[in-house]
């Protein structure tokens, strides 16, 4: 297997341990890299930005982190074809950095994951993300089946995709809408959306297909012990549920 994965830790990141663990359980060669040593990032082939409150979400969620020195390496890496996977707060950072949907300039965001609607409150709710693109459109989803459902937990106060109508049109026509919220049977409607997200968006991909940002935490439904639909038999520590997206990511890294 080739490909080293860095899980970034900003001041305020809080989901790095479970993200690291699921990546390793899916066969990935993953390590934590802290903000105090950003230069280490040059030696990795893929980057995962996990959940939390980087830089305490000051100013806007992801706004300060998008200008952190670690993001200089992530942006340069993305431009050279390295894989970047943002989850929840990591997705907000990737979006503020302009890497997704990638329809504007770097660090000039054309959209935002912003305050939930109709009530601008934190939500914690089990959800399903449905793959809304052809799997091969994004390297990170390439090993998923068509229309894959990824069980996850939405746990955010600022997860609603918002943009001007022009930029929402660009997201649709450019094939950037990677995941939408769905029910367990795969049907898609507004009742499945926990936060009022435009386009029922749960995840975005860039034009080149090497940067993916998802708001729900797939790593919080990724082992038998925390997978809602587990059977009572089998290893409680075995990967299941939302781990399928991390397995697909690790597979993509192995092919770099």
């Amino acid at each position: 297997m080739s490909g080293r994965i860095a899980v970034l830790v900003f001041p305020g990141t809080n989901s790095e341990d479970e993200t690291l663990r699921v990546l390793r359980d899916c066969g990935g060669d993953a390590e934590l890299v802290h903000w105090s040593s950003p230069e280490r990032l040059a030696g990795y082939d893929a980057y995962v930005l996990s959940g939390g409150f980087a830089h305490e979400d000051r100013i806007r969620a992801g706004a300060v982190a998008a200008h952190d020195r670690m993001m200089d390496y992530v942006i340069q890496g993305a431009q050279r074809g390295k894989l970047v996977f943002g989850i929840c707060n990591g997705a907000q950072i990737v979006l503020e950095a302009g890497l997704v949907p990638g329809t504007g300039a770097i660090r000039k965001p054309t959209a935002a994951f912003t305050h939930n609607a109709p009530a601008p409150h934190f939500v914690c709710r089990h959800v399903y993300m449905k793959l809304a693109i052809e799997p091969a459109r994004c390297a990170i989803t390439a090993s998923l089946p068509r229309d894959a459902l990824v069980p996850s937990w939405a746990a955010h106060g600022e997860g609603r995709l918002a943009a001007t109508s022009k930029h929402l049109d660009e997201i649709v026509t450019g094939g950037h809408l990677a995941f939408v919220y769905a029910h367990a049977d795969g049907t898609v409607d507004d009742a499945a959306v926990p936060n009022g997200s435009a386009l029922r968006c749960a995840g975005l991909v860039n034009r080149e297909g090497n940067v993916l940002a998802i708001m729900p935490h797939a790593e919080r439904d990724a082992w038998n012990f925390n997978h809602l639909e587990r059977s009572d038999s089998g290893d409680v520590l075995a990967p299941s549920g939302g781990s399928i997206i991390f397995r697909s990511f690790v597979e993509a890294v192995s092919q770099l």
Binding site: H55, E56, R58, I59, R60, A63, V64, H67, E96, R107, P109, T110, A111, A112, T114, H115, A117, P120, A162, A163, T164, H167
Partner: protein, 131 residues
Amino acid sequence: MTRAIAIGLKIPDNTAYTALVALRRLGVAVEGVERNEVFFFDDDGDVAALVRRVKADETIFNPNKHRLEVLAQAAPRPGELWVEPLERAPNRAAAVAWRLTDARGLPASSQVLEAAADRLLCNPAIDRARV
């Protein structure tokens, strides 16, 4: 008439300090940053009565940490940049007022305010900046 009330922290404002450090790192010539949340009220009555009502609403004002100022106009003052959400939501401020000062302690120029909005303080997908 619409009255504007600015509510800010009287304790150290970590967000404002973060903005100061980040703006300097991004090359914006600024030496001081203050931050207030601005709320609009449609009120034709006595200003003092309005202030009493606002100060009694603990969802937006905590006397232990907040100070309050009635603005003469519902518009940015010299050296101020207002970042306003494109979509107004109930119980949220109508704007975040960033007051920037230069090395002499004077209000920042409109060019500096616009640079601060463009590089950090405003995401045009969800906000508009007013100087």
